[in-house]
Amino acid sequence: MNAATKISTATASATETQIMTRSDTPLVRFQGVRKSFGELEVLKGIDLEVVSGEVVALIGRSGSGKSTALRCVNGLERINAGALTVCGRELHSGKVDLRDLRQDVGIVFQSYNLFPHLTVEQNVTLAPRKVHKIGAAEARDLADTVLAQVGLSDKAKNYPEQLSGGQQQRVAIARSLAMRPKLILFDEVTSALDPELTGEVLRVIEKLAAGGMTMMLVTHEMAFARSVADQVVFMHQGRIWESGKGDMLDKPQTPELRQFVGNGL
């Protein structure tokens, strides 16, 4: 824990300059966030800031609390202590309208979770039609736009089961984009895919990053984290053990990260 504190102060200046160039208040701010499932404390005081336009990669061993941290951001899990502010909403107050929050915060899951009875286009436009009440013509345009963003314009009329895993995951990303979120969370979105399909999904995420989308992603793709993330966060036993820019993976400061990177690469 000592090492971790040292590292985060060491990298603070780098992060600060970044914040200056990008935006004022962070989109996401964890302050001493704790989360337990029953007796098991999974997050033991997380401090983290994500500014607009930033890409943050969460890495760490299985069970270190990455998914839990991510799921707190859109209110899938409620935090037990500390403060968590997302898009100007104080989640710790317990008075946040989650549906309102989730219009600003999209999420993409490892298992895609597309709606199998709907076509790609219907999957993508369901929420905008129901939540934002857009009309049929507008919905079609929206579907065209977001499907083009993920390179699947020709699949609009297909059903999920007719697509490869990589294509399904890109539809899930398009579905998220269609809500015009300020922030998208990705939870190991390539873990169910073979290397080739992983590549096509990562390229889509990379393009979004280049386009200025704010993203928090849990990933096991170290090379991707290093090259795309503005901030890499290594979690260990419910704490942020080390964090910094992508190149921190090349010179790990703690034995835990060294071992993790050694195994992961």
């Binding site: 899938l76 549906r99 999420i107 899951f109 298992s111 979770n113 199998p116 009875h117 369901l126 939540v131």
Partner: protein, 227 residues
């Protein structure tokens, strides 16, 4: 021992037979939609409702599924009379069928809802859909498609079960058969004919419901694969 078949009653009682057939078909079709709606509502109530709703639905469903239909019909018919509510045999029969098939449908639909992966519900919630929107647009279509064969069987069973409704003097097909038989003493032939008619009606009902599925499940129509 020889037996002379005599189907001449067919000609003589044709109008009565038609009347019975139409009454059976009418009872069945009028009961399907409200029965399905009631059952689906109960399934949702039992799954997502507050505890008191869950309890009421459970009592209703178990009460109906563990007593004979004919007792339910009598109970309703005479019960309504006690309450001074005057309903004819046809409406009484329909109400009884709706209540009966609703309970079975509730269990079938509950299984359908429970078979939907939790990730789907999470995804719907994360897209800012209201619970009611998720239920209507995400869960209901999938639940129905998954349990559709069971629903079809249930509705065919219900059609066959209308054959007891002559007990409250709704003169459906079986009632007509009994009447013809008592005039002609040609029970063997009469019930043979009636059985064939029920068989044909059951097949037609299955076909109709299959057609409804073709229209309702475009994905299934196009791909033919189960969800």
């Amino acid at each position: 021992m020889s037996y002379e078949f005599d189907f001449s009653f067919l000609n003589e009682y044709l109008p009565e037979l038609w009347h019975g057939i139409w009454l059976t078909i009418g009872m069945t079709f009028v009961s399907i939609v409200p029965g399905f709606a009631l059952g689906t509502g109960c399934a949702i109530g039992r799954l997502y409702g507050p505890p008191w709703v869950q309890r009421i639905v459970t009592i209703y469903v178990e009460g109906i599924r563990n007593t004979p239909l004919i007792i339910q019909v009598f109970w309703l018919f005479f019960g309504l009379a006690v309450l001074q509510v005057r309903v004819g045999p046809f409406p009484a029969a329909v109400i009884a069928l709706v209540i009966n098939v609703g309970a079975y449908t509730a269990e079938i639909m509950r299984a359908g809802f429970m078979s939907i992966p939790k990730g789907q519900l999470e995804a719907a919630a994360c897209l800012a859909l209201k619970p009611s929107q998720s239920l209507w647009s995400v869960q209901l279509p999938q639940a129905v498609e998954r349990v559709y064969p069971a629903l079809v069987s249930q509705f065919v069973l219900m059609m066959l079960a209308t054959s007891i409704m002559s007990q409250i003097s709704a003169e459906e097909l079986t009632g007509v058969a009994y009447m013809i038989q008592s005039f002609t003493f040609r029970g063997f032939e009469v019930y043979l004919v009636i059985a064939v008619i029920y068989f044909v009606m059951a097949c037609l009902l299955r076909l109709t419901l299959l057609g409804v599925a073709q229209v309702s499940f475009p994905r299934k129509r196009r791909l033919g694969t189960p969800l």
